[in-house]
């Protein structure tokens, strides 16, 4: 089954109630194995709905969602899909079930009916992958938000998924917690080749992805590498999305007549580009 760990959305629409305006309409996307895709959108854009469709928590009103070769429409396959496409939610407190960290990591395995002897090494390796081994016997309420999210990631990881969906997993964290969670996921993506669908409204996070999908009003409006997407400053503004500060600054400098290259996302990149154009004179 590993051969097909793609995530496909084929012309997917979803409405919460029958008459209501659809939260998603006619969305198609193909996410390749091992890709790190950021889904960017403001509140109410439909990005969270998209996350829940990928995990078979919601079944599309129209169209098909195919995860790792399984169509989410088929009820018998629900557990197969959820095992392969693990999901991390926004609120770190509301996704931890057990009173001890390692028991929470075991929760998914217990549900899958994994024998106890096999559980222990899987829990240990999942906790060490998120660097939480030292906290295995702690109570979850003693941990920081970032640590709780890492425990949640470990809980998913123990189930050996091929896709991890993070539905605004950093939205409730402080900057340091946000960084530690994002780094954990990024490492898992690089080292284990786990496909990541990273749903967020933070531009800086989206900038780290391989590809960005911009969702507004239930549709994918822009798609491409972070550099490609953020260079379309005007379109992004129209969708009430801010581009990263450096990209915006580069855009303004370009308008003012500086021939900067497109695709600038970070301070370092802008500094480098400015230095290339106007080299510092060492002699004064």
């Amino acid at each position: 089954m590993k051969s097909d760990s793609r995530v496909q959305l084929n012309d997917v629409s979803y409405s919460y109630e029958e008459q209501a305006a659809p939260a998603l309409s006619g969305v198609s996307a193909l996410i390749q194995p091992g890709e790190f895709v950021a889904v960017l959108g403001h509140n109410g854009s439909g990005k969270s709905t998209m996350a829940k469709l990928l995990n078979a928590l919601f079944v599309p009103t129209e169209g098909n969602v195919v995860v790792c070769g399984y169509n989410t429409r088929e009820e018998k396959l629900v557990w197969e899909i959820r095992q392969r496409a693990g999901m991390i939610f926004q609120n770190p407190d509301n996704q931890i079930v057990a009173t001890v960290v390692k028991e929470d990591v075991a929760f998914g395995l217990e549900n899958l009916g994994v024998p106890t002897e096999e559980m222990i090494p899987r829990i240990e390796s999942a906790l060490s992958a998120v660097r939480m081994s030292a906290y295995a016997d702690k109570a979850p309420h003693m941990l920081s938000g970032g640590q709780k999210q890492r425990v949640a990631i470990a809980g998913i990881l123990a189930m050996e998924p091929s896709v991890i969906i993070a539905d605004e997993a950093t939205a409730m964290l402080d900057p340091s917690g946000r960084k530690e969670v994002l780094e954990t996921i990024r490492t898992l993506n690089r080292q284990k080749g786990i496909t990541v669908v990273w749903i967020t409204h933070f531009m800086e996070e989206a900038a780290l992805a391989d590809r960005v999908l911009v969702v507004t009003d239930g549709q994918i409006k822009l798609s491409g590498t972070p550099a490609e997407v953020f260079d379309r400053v005007e379109e992004m503004r129209e969708m009430h999305l801010d581009v990263p500060h450096m990209t915006a600054l580069a855009g303004e400098l370009r308008e003012a007549g500086m021939p900067l290259r497109p695709g600038i996302l970070t301070v370092e990149e802008l500094a480098e580009e400015v230095e290339r154009l106007c080299p510092l004179k060492s002699a004064t």
């Binding site: 509301n94 931890i96 079930v97 899958l112």
Partner: protein, 267 residues
């Protein structure tokens, strides 16, 4: 303050009693309750007292921790004693003045009833002091499993207990936060009579309930996304095993039961 609350009254030390299988401990506690009820002489209660004292020593739990459980019940115990003392009719008159008649039978009955209450509390405290609530939930789940045949939700009950335990600290923290937020808006939780204080609780309880329901919804979704589908086909990380220690504990309890029964027959 919230970081070091202990769950229930669990006394977290390591001992032979702590390490007993929670199922065995639960069953033995029930047997102990039966023993307390069949004891009929002061000698019997002395034996039970000795047993409880030795058990608390073995469990590394200070005996006064066991007695602490009596504090909230002291009124009931005193009342039980007095009512039985004053209103039991008996033959052997010990003391009589005004309308009060104290008889030997009355005193005996009063003493036994209150001793029973005392030992009930002490015995069950010994269980809750040495068993973490989570293992207790496990034990209840396994012991109730046979009732699944008549559709008793044993697994669901245990799952609810575990989740409740998991969320107690979270909700306490939240209560603290809401209380501070409402106090910042001028709410007064501390003054006034009972009724106005109860009324002051409304702006605390409403947000707390709303948030608890939202948490429940979120948690249900998170559990589903981690393949939770009830107790069927579920394995467990914590496997309960009956060891030699458990058999010894059963043996000791059997001896106590035998002693109390024999004492009831021959004395």
């Amino acid at each position: 303050m919230l970081n070091n609350i202990t769950m229930g009254q669990y006394y977290p030390v390591d001992s032979r009693v702590h390490r007993l299988d929670p199922r065995i401990k639960l069953i033995l506690t029930i047997v102990f309750i039966v023993i307390v009820f069949i004891a009929r002489t002061f000698l019997g209660y002395a034996v039970i007292l000795a047993f409880v004292y030795l058990a608390s020593r073995l469990a590394n739990v200070p005996f006064r921790m066991l007695l602490r459980g009596l504090k909230p019940l002291r009124l009931i115990i005193i009342l039980t004693f007095l009512l039985n003392l004053l209103f039991t009719t008996g033959e052997t008159l010990w003391l009589e003045f005004w309308i009060v008649r104290i008889t030997k039978e009355g005193f005996m009955q009063a003493a036994f009833y209150s001793l029973r209450l005392v030992f009930l509390v002490i015995g069950t405290s010994l269980l809750t002091l040495t068993t973490s609530p989570v293992s207790l939930a496990d034990a209840i789940e396994i012991l109730l499993t046979p009732l699944k045949k008549i559709h008793f939700p044993a697994h669901e009950l245990a799952m609810m207990m575990t989740i409740a335990l998991r969320f107690i600290p979270t909700l306490l923290e939240e209560t603290d936060k809401i209380m501070k937020a409402q106090m910042a808006r001028g709410a007064d939780f501390e003054s006034g009579n009972l009724i106005s204080r109860a009324k002051a609780m409304v702006p605390l309880l409403v947000p707390l309930f709303v948030s608890a329901f939202r948490r429940a919804g979120d948690l249900a979704m998170a559990m589903e996304s981690r393949c939770y589908h009830g107790g069927d086909g579920r394995t467990r990380l914590r496997v309960l095993k009956i060891t030699k220690n458990d058999w010894i504990a059963c043996g000791v309890m059997a001896v106590l039961l035998a002693l109390i029964i024999l004492e009831g027959i021959f004395l």
